[in-house]
Symmetry: C2
Subunit: 354 residues, 2 copies
DNA sequence: TTTAAAAAAGTGTTCGAGCACGCAATCGAA
DNA sequence: TTCGATTGCGTGCTCGAACACTTTTTTAAA
């Protein structure tokens, strides 16, 4: 049995002309007499012609060089997953001529970001995927890339006042609310709830603030402000000892500490503290399935993790670029990834995706 | 810039032979001298040749008629989602010549299933996707389809002792454990926990039993048997009034009822009862994002839903068939879908997928 | 040694879209 | 009316794999 597909040739025959002419109509290329053009357009509509993407991409054998500007995974293992997502997407799209060049910067060093961002401009890629964790430093480059006509997709960190092709990541506000909902479900009696920003430059990380807002607003919205006191704290410790002391102090100040919400992937640091001090009653929710977090999840020290799906962010980021560049599809300005709730029992399914 | 793709012609040139010969080696067709074959195989490996799927499917313009044997969504809205998944997959794969014929049976009537299953045989599809909710009635057909060489993929209900191309769905045991974990997190004081099988012929539904096992084993494994008494009950009500009376009786017997786990998509029935009787303290977990469940989730009567991703089941089922038939990929015997935990705060992301 | 059959290897067409090229008709200016 | 330029339109090659078909080589029997 054969497929019933409408081809350019079919249209040409029905319009009593040649496929070359139909082709020119389809691509607004070259010169076609008005009456012929309209006859052809009518027939295209009538037969409901859709170009055969397969034949199309077989023919147009051009290469698409995409660039990815993302942090070094060896310095923060959170970034391993996006790398994997990139590679997965590249594998799938290699058939279509997609090649990705990675520009890897140090997530703790603004100058290294700037150096790599400059390199990207010199390469003139066809598209760019970027994790803009340095807001201020990144701004001028967005301008530059826009002028060069390089479409860029942001992921991981949402940024205002720039015009990317698309943002891919989570709705930080909702994410905070979700964390609140989960913790509240496990809280039995009144107490203090801590929002912890661990080892993060909060001034350059608007999305962490947004998470905190979502978290606080959940307790407000549910009229739980009387029952639970929400406090927040930045916990930074370049040196080893720092965290324990800071949490000790905090517990002295708030002896009824009942739950901790870590706004980034550093929940394992708090988990280590809880385990060391046998604080089994303090509920703990954090982000991301990095190794240390998984261990504490399996031990039951971390109760739930919210998966930001960093692999998916890389994967979909590349796919959005491909959809735009290769398949000429409309791209939504924002693609929110699901807020996956992870626990020991369903962890497996989120580790190796699809 | 051009793509660097290894073609059959490249292999032929390097092996000092013609593309026809390489083709015969690749497809184990026709006769090739042993030394030439080995030389070619070596070069294929060396150059890391991967056939160009695009060119491949452009050439082989055959149609693939797939059949889907699934219940009528107008009788049980759970089945709407698989239908949507089917259609989504068909849309994506139409370019590759995939066409799906639906054989829709009444999920409450074995004879209707048998009639439709017979029809499938007469149609001789190239592949089959089936929701085998009638275990006993389905068995002889598996035999028949196997003899006819029709590969079939099971979804929704896992069945032993048959040899499908693949099973797609959830790990029921884990699913039960996950439900237990969630409920336990929200339980503050000792009490009774009910496993409710609502309006389901339990004798034909092994997977619900498996869910219950997983649920019970969680409490056993965590040494919580003393604290929480787990009971189970089949709740059937062909007539309207039935459910209320049965739950009233149950509450008389177990006044400390603290949580209910509904093993199928009928949590909304229990939710209606809880709401009517203002039992805000009884925790409720169920399955699936059908309309009524969503409403009670948003109201807070249902605390969490576990998403069985019925849309994904249909979608991936068709894709597995396509991977097997069109792309000749290896198919894993089981594809477990994630156990997604859904709450009011992250519901949106699971409604319209990807 | 010849010859037919069988095996091995090579050639050429096809799929649908893209695009370069070239032919024919029309137009305008000298 | 002749020449070049412009417009309108058709032809034919290309992409990589599949497969039918043809040609060449080998093998075995006469």
């Amino acid at each position: 049995m054969k497929k019933k597909i409408v081809r350019i040739k079919d249209i040409a025959e029905k319009a009593q002309t040649s496929k070359g002419t139909v082709d020119r109509v389809l691509h607004n290329r070259g010169r076609v007499a008005d009456d012929v053009r309209e006859r052809i357009l009518a027939i295209i509509k009538e037969l409901n012609y859709e170009p055969n993407l397969i034949a199309q991409s077989l023919k147009s054998q051009r290469a698409f060089n995409l660039a990815a500007l993302i942090p070094d995974p060896s310095l923060d293992s959170y970034w391993e997953a996006p790398h994997n997502g990139l590679e997965k997407a590249e594998k799938e799209l290699r058939q279509y001529g997609v090649h990705i060049t990675k520009f890897i910067f140090n997530s703790h060093s603004e100058p290294s970001f700037i150096a790599k961002a400059k390199e990207v401009g010199r390469e003139h890629p066809d598209g760019l995927l970027i994790a803009p964790i340095f807001y201020k430093e990144a701004l001028p480059f967005f301008q530059e890339w826009a002028e060069m006509g390089i479409p860029y997709v942001l992921f991981n960190t949402q940024i205002e006042h720039v015009n990317p092709l698309c943002y891919i990541g989570q709705d930080s506000y909702r994410s905070g609310s979700l964390a609140a909902k989960i913790l509240r479900f496990g809280l039995h009696s009144p107490g203090t709830v801590l929002v912890a920003h661990v080892n993060e430059d909060i001034s350059n990380s608007a999305h962490l603030i947004t998470k905190e807002e979502g978290f606080r607003d959940y307790f407000k919205g549910e009229q739980l402000e009387e029952t639970f006191k929400v406090i927040s704290k930045e916990i930074n410790f370049p040196e080893e000892e720092g965290l324990d002391k800071q949490l000790d102090d905090l517990r002295k100040q708030y002896p009824d500490l009942a739950a901790v919400y870590v706004t980034n992937s550093k929940a394992f640091e708090v988990a280590a503290y809880l385990e060391k001090n046998a604080l089994t009653d303090i509920k703990l929710v954090g982000y991301d399935l990095i190794g240390p977090n998984q261990q504490y999840l399996n031990k039951g020290v971390i109760d739930f993790l919210i998966n930001q799906n960093p692999l998916g962010q890389g994967y979909w980021g590349i796919h959005q670029l491909a959809n735009h560049l290769i398949f000429k599809k409309e791209i939504p300005a924002i693609k929110f990834l699901p807020l996956d709730i992870i626990t020991k029992e369903n962890l497996d399914y989120y580790l190796d995706p699809q």
